[in-house]
């Protein structure tokens, strides 16, 4: 994993949250406790570095639930590798944002 980029603790938390299934910006904010001014630029940076990718929800799905469509994020293969490296670097990361806490997102 020598090639995996070294992330800051905050960015690693956000990557961990997305990996744990918190796939929307606001849900990442809620689970990490970070402000919007930190979370959204960090997610853009992760997307620019191709560690996550974003996609807009289908309009028909949002219309059926009478809400606006949301942009959701997923880890890429490189993102998964980087997250693994970050977990080794920050051992408490998995406890801070645990996978089992994921609600039906």
């Amino acid at each position: 994993m020598a090639d995996a980029p070294r992330l800051s603790h905050t960015t690693a938390m956000i990557l961990q949250a997305i990996g744990a299934g918190y796939i929307y910006g606001y849900s990442v904010m809620e689970v990490t406790g970070l402000p919007s001014g930190t979370v959204y630029p960090a997610m853009r940076r992760l997307e620019r570095d191709q560690l996550i990718r974003s996609q807009w929800e289908r309009q028909s799905v949002a219309d059926a639930e009478q809400r606006p469509p949301r942009k959701y994020y997923k880890l890429t293969r490189a993102g998964e590798k980087t997250l693994e490296a970050s977990r080794k670097r920050y051992p408490l990361l998995a406890k801070l944002v645990a996978t089992e806490e994921v609600e039906d997102a």
């Binding site: 910006g25 606001y26 919007s36 979370v39 959204y40 630029p41 853009r44 940076r45 620019r48 606006p68």
Partner: protein, 283 residues
């Protein structure tokens, strides 16, 4: 979203709209859509705090925008467009100057705003500019030219400078009248006005220096020449090119026998192949 929430959402939408101005224009629509859709899920009590983060996000997007930068709408490269911009600003300034009422003004050209008096006021502004010119002319270094321009070329260049200075007067007059209406600021407003006049005059003269003496277009593609540590029989500074291929302007950063003045090197017709109509223009 419930009706009460929608009623209160205008402030958050307005905040997002203002924040979006920080971001690049080509991504603005999607950016706003993303933030609005996320805002829908944020509880009302936290909505405003949530929206404040949009400023940082938009600023990040601006700083990290990889899309090629589009040219701004203001093109000052050609002399006509430069004069057109100044003329527009002058016309707007005259309109503003005629609308503003200046209280308790002593009799004189500035006391009323009839069009006939504005000309006199502009004349006074010209005199004021002339008083400031000695300080401004320090930036003026007429280029040395091995091949002197024709009298028609020199006349055109002089006229261009004169028209620019003339068009500046109504703009400065408008600034002066605005300064009078801000009487309570006293010396600060006056100081600011004087500084603005000096800066405007310096811009006029520096703009003149950066133009090709033949076609009066702004010189492009500045390139660094030489190094400061090797000045024996050499020079160092900046070389700019006329996009129409009329010549090169060498501006030295250190005064020497060769480079006391900017050197204009005229290119003859053999160079014209390198400067086809669109080659060398800024994109």
């Amino acid at each position: 979203m419930n009706p009460r929430r929608m009623k209160n959402a205008w402030l958050q939408y307005a905040t997002l709209r203002v924040a979006s101005l920080l971001g690049p224009s080509d991504q603005r629509a999607e950016w706003i859509e993303e933030w609005r859709s996320e805002l829908w899920y944020v509880p009302q009590r936290r909505a405003m705090l949530f929206c404040m983060g949009a400023f940082r996000d938009a600023f990040w997007l601006r700083c990290n925008n990889t899309a090629p930068v589009k040219r701004s709408g203001i093109h000052l490269e050609s002399p006509l467009s430069c004069l057109a911009l100044l003329a527009t600003l002058a016309a707007v300034s005259i309109l503003i100057a005629m609308k503003i009422r200046v209280p308790d003004l002593p009799p004189g050209p500035f006391s009323s705003h009839r069009a006939s008096d504005l000309a006199g006021a502009c004349g006074m502004m010209l005199l004021f500019s002339a008083l400031l010119l000695p300080g401004t002319l320090r930036v003026w270094r007429a280029p040395a030219n091995r091949y002197p321009l024709s009298w028609a070329g020199r006349l055109r260049r002089g006229l261009f400078l004169a028209v620019k200075i003339a068009l500046l007067q109504p703009i400065m007059l408008c600034g002066f009248i605005v300064e009078l209406t801000m009487g309570q600021l006293g010396g600060f407003a006056s100081l600011g006005f004087d500084a603005a006049v000096i800066l405007a005059l310096r811009w006029i003269i520096m703009d003149q220096q950066r133009r090709c003496p033949v076609c009066l277009r702004l010189l492009t593609s500045p390139v660094r020449i030489g190094t400061p540590s090797r000045t024996f029989l050499e020079w160092y500074g900046t070389e700019s090119t006329c996009s129409r291929g009329h010549g090169l302007l060498h501006i030295s950063e250190m005064s020497s026998g060769y480079s006391e003045k900017p050197q204009w090197l005229r290119l003859d017709d053999s160079w014209s192949g390198l400067f086809a109509k669109d080659v060398g223009r800024r994109t």
